[in-house]
Amino acid sequence: MTGKKRQILIFLFFAAAVLLVPLFFKGNYLLNVFVFVGINTILAIGLNLLLGYAGQISLGHAAFFGLGAYISGIITTRFPLDPWLVIVLAAVCAGALAFVIGFPILKLKGHYLAMATLGFGIIMYIIFNETVGLTGGPSGLSGIPNLHIGSLIFDNDLNNYYLVWLFTLVVMLLSINLSQSRIGRALRAINDSEMAARVMGVNARILKVQIFTVSAVISAIAGSLYAHIMTFISPASFGFNFSIELLTMVVIGGLGSIYGSFLGAAILTMLPEFLRVFQDFDIIIYGLMLILMTMFMPGGLISGIQKIAEFTAAKIKGMTSNNAQT
């Protein structure tokens, strides 16, 4: 019970911090960076549900992100439809596609799954590039309208910040709930031993497809938000490199940790901002981080932070009990 209470407290604390951040960064360009931290957090959580919980890799997740962005972008620039409705439509389409390809793709395991999802990602990337009539091809699609609620238009950093982080917090909360449910346990069971999970009655095949679909839906929503915030999209944002960047976020933050996904997304989004001098170094750094994290810290940075927290908690406890004795 206390564990549950602590979790609620942590989430409330996190949410409060998120809401207060703009007070300290008013007019600062960093607020714009934080908008993208939010979008990337949504994406990383989406991938983490699949990779960290169910243990199924996807190297093509940028495709679902792009699909959401392009469906929103193409429809809202051509038809006078409500953009919010189109976001739902984009999510449904991405989910439907994931569900359909999920059955044959998730039959594959390990390296074969990695290659198949990678192939899927590249095919989608080629489609984004080559269907010039729809997507504008390599030169991109511009003039995507901003979202608005009544007269509140999401066209500046502050408004966008609250827009994106509202979505991010909801996705976080729902994912935390999911991870601690019957479904979350079944996913982790599949990750540990698919055979034993099946013997316990977990329908691994269906469940893997379901979580793949959920993950695609989450990515597509992030894509729609991205399109409306940027008002311009081009295929370069949805290619293989971005799929790898997402993977890096999840791995260095911590596989199977929702807050880890936030941490990974925050680091990878802000790193290039702080290390502008190192602009060309980013992919080398990602590569090194992937290797070193997997070798030496498989739980990601979040596990390191948890260990430090536990250690200091134990220390403080020890000190207070010592004081009580004296």
Partner: protein
């Protein structure tokens, strides 16, 4: 309650099982024994849906369950443990047992993510029930330990608890005493009897003859993929074919 009819399994050109038939009485403890390579584990893998047999049928009660996938069998009340203990190593002991209640609960992704009232109630039920099973096998104190950190003997108990949480009609145990010391084996014998008393049929593959002769009501002997004999422990001990098979091996 469990009936095998002419089970044959051919791997490549190698016949691992040939025309094996027997039936298991409801509420009994049945042992499957035989020298190494007799096909015992293969037989278990076929019954529990991990391998597809080349020929023959498996019945659970009146139902033909041949070629059912393992997840479907769990729903029908047929569950197993593994020789090498297949735990969910990164989950806690309690969570392992909670996975066992998967077929006894039904909340989906949507109700879990939004914590609908039914799901909260079900979660509570799953947890309480799992704690009961841990108590049944004496693992309550270890509930919050990561399963991967358990000593081998406790891990085996956890695997049995998890299988019991499925509330099966029959439980198949693949060499439950392997790797246990004599005290643990004695406790295991006690536990298996208690499982049977709660109305669950137990079928086990085992090398520990003392254990088998002690707890089994009926024994099936396999040799080189064929059924060699079937009977009570006493009948088996006196069966000349069985004796020569075992002496021949030793």
């Amino acid at each position: 309650m469990l009936k095998l009819n002419g089970i044959t399994k051919i791997f490549g050109g190698l016949t691992a099982l040939e025309d094996v038939s027997f039936s298991v009485a409801d509420g009994s403890i049945t042992g499957v024994i035989g020298p190494n390579g007799a096909g015992k584990t293969t037989l278990f893998n076929i019954i529990t849906g991990l391998y597809a047999q080349t020929a023959g049928e498996v019945y659970l009660g009146e139902k033909n369950i041949s070629l059912f996938p393992p997840e479907a069998l769990a729903g029908l009340g047929l569950v197993r443990t593994f020789q090498n203990v297949e735990l969910f190593g990164q989950m806690t002991v309690l969570e392992n047992v909670m996975v066992g209640l998967h077929t006894r609960s039904k909340s989906g992704i949507f109700s879990s993510a939004f914590k609908l009232p039914g799901q909260i109630k079900e979660e509570k039920y799953i947890k309480e029930k799992s704690l009961q099973w841990l108590e049944f096998t004496g693992l309550t104190d270890l509930a919050d330990i990561q399963a991967g950190n358990l000593p081998f003997g406790k891990g085996r108990l956890l695997e049995i608890s998890r299988a019991l949480a499925v509330e099966p009609r029959a439980i198949l145990m693949d060499e439950p005493a392997a790797g246990l010391n004599s005290r643990e084996t004695a406790e295991l014998a006690l536990l298996i009897r208690r499982i049977r008393e709660s109305g669950i049929t137990v079928i086990l593959v085992e090398h520990d003859m003392e254990l088998v002769m002690d707890i089994c009501d009926s024994i099936i002997v396999l040799n080189l993929g064929k059924k060699l004999a079937e009977g009570t422990p006493r009948e088996i001990q006196e069966n000349p074919a069985v004796i020569s098979a075992y002496l021949g091996e030793g």
